[in-house]
Amino acid sequence: FMLTPGHPKWKHTNLTYRIINQTTNLTNDVVERYIEEAFQLWKNASSLNITRVLQGEADIKIAFFQRDHGDNSPFDGPNGILAHAFQPGPGIGGDVHFDAEEMWTNTSKDYNLYLVAAHEFGHSLGLSHSTDPGALMYPTYSFHEPSTYVLPQDDINGIQAIYGPADRPVQPTGPTTPTACDPRLTFDAVTTLRGEILFFKDKYFWRKHPQVRRVELNFISLFWPTLPDGIQAAYEDFYRDVVIVFKGKQYWALSGYDIQQGYPKDILNYGFPSSVHAIDAAASYRGKTYFFVNNQFWRYDDQRQSMDPGYPKSIASTFQGIGSRVDAVFQRDDVFFFFSGPIHYAFDFRYQRITKVERNNRWLNC
């Protein structure tokens, strides 16, 4: 996180805000609810008390303007700059301006007002932009479901660096962004996707492109807004050109950026017994899909669309040297890459043996 240069802050902790005008895209009550909930994020993490006033002066005045609106920082029409805010202080200090020409929404469609408002209020309270791509105070827009959004730890640390801890017995905590080169890094799920490799972790995924050196960290919600965090398994169905992702007893089919209609479905469709509550890992290979659950695995025939007889088998019996349980697996060029804890094992299916053991973050150029 970064504090605004000069570390401006409000001297009083009982702050007021006033909504000066509204946007035409959303009903007033949605705007008012979103703004109150966005302030609540910061109130929960600090000792600040921020209440709405309906008229007269307020510390934080909120308005929708377009183009040049008299503060020497003109807006630029749809997209580009979405909003801006001023650091704590008198007059325009603390005020928040939204670009009236944006399509403000209360859905995953661009741009969700709640997230932008919560970000701008961080500036109103004295925070600058964070270099943490998972932080609310990161400069670029990413969608997150407002009803489940939790203020990231980086932003909690930032607001508490200015105003001290929240006045409550238990300090709030939030999600931290995984760091690629953490030697203990584990993955939730890994899959190929049209030549790229996606490494899922919590609410994020790293995207590794064969021709691009840098591995990009993205929010899952940026690509698939309605997909839950914490994906547990994923595999690429090469024939249907889709990626299937699993969480609990549910699975979804992803076609590029789209989630296919009719999902999520229940894993019972694959023929799992009702005793299976979740899949640890999955990989597709030569018309068969391998599902790993605890220390066993099933083999599913993609053509017949049913489980092969004689399964489940123990992982150790077929994949010698692979421990009892795997976190994730993907298959490429006849090699199954099994990820277990911070280590992954390359198991060459043709020679039926492990050919390489490495740390997971080797895939992330560490």
């Binding site: 000069g6 807006f75 979405l82 932009h129 270099t131 400069p139």
Partner: protein
């Protein structure tokens, strides 16, 4: 004569210049002559932006940098007041 359309290269230079002026305090240069002198300043500001976003710090307007510059964002600068 039809106005010569901007070449992609010129368009990208404009995107970079505009972005660095808005978010990284690149001084606004009015005259092309000033712009030539400012090349090293632009490279430094470009590196500052690439460092902030965790991109490869090349000082060049590569594809990833341009892609980041075109993402919707907050209007508050990333450095300075």
């Amino acid at each position: 004569f039809p106005v010569p359309s901007e070449s992609p290269e010129e368009k990208n230079i404009k995107i970079v210049q505009d972005y660095l002026e808005k978010f990284y305090q690149l001084p606004k240069y009015r005259h092309p002559s000033e712009r030539k002198k400012s090349a090293s300043v632009i490279v430094e500001k470009l590196k500052e932006m690439q460092r902030f976003f965790g991109l490869n710090v090349t000082g060049k307007q590569d594809e990833e940098t341009l892609k980041t510059m075109q993402k919707p964002r907050c209007g508050v600068p990333d450095s300075g007041n």
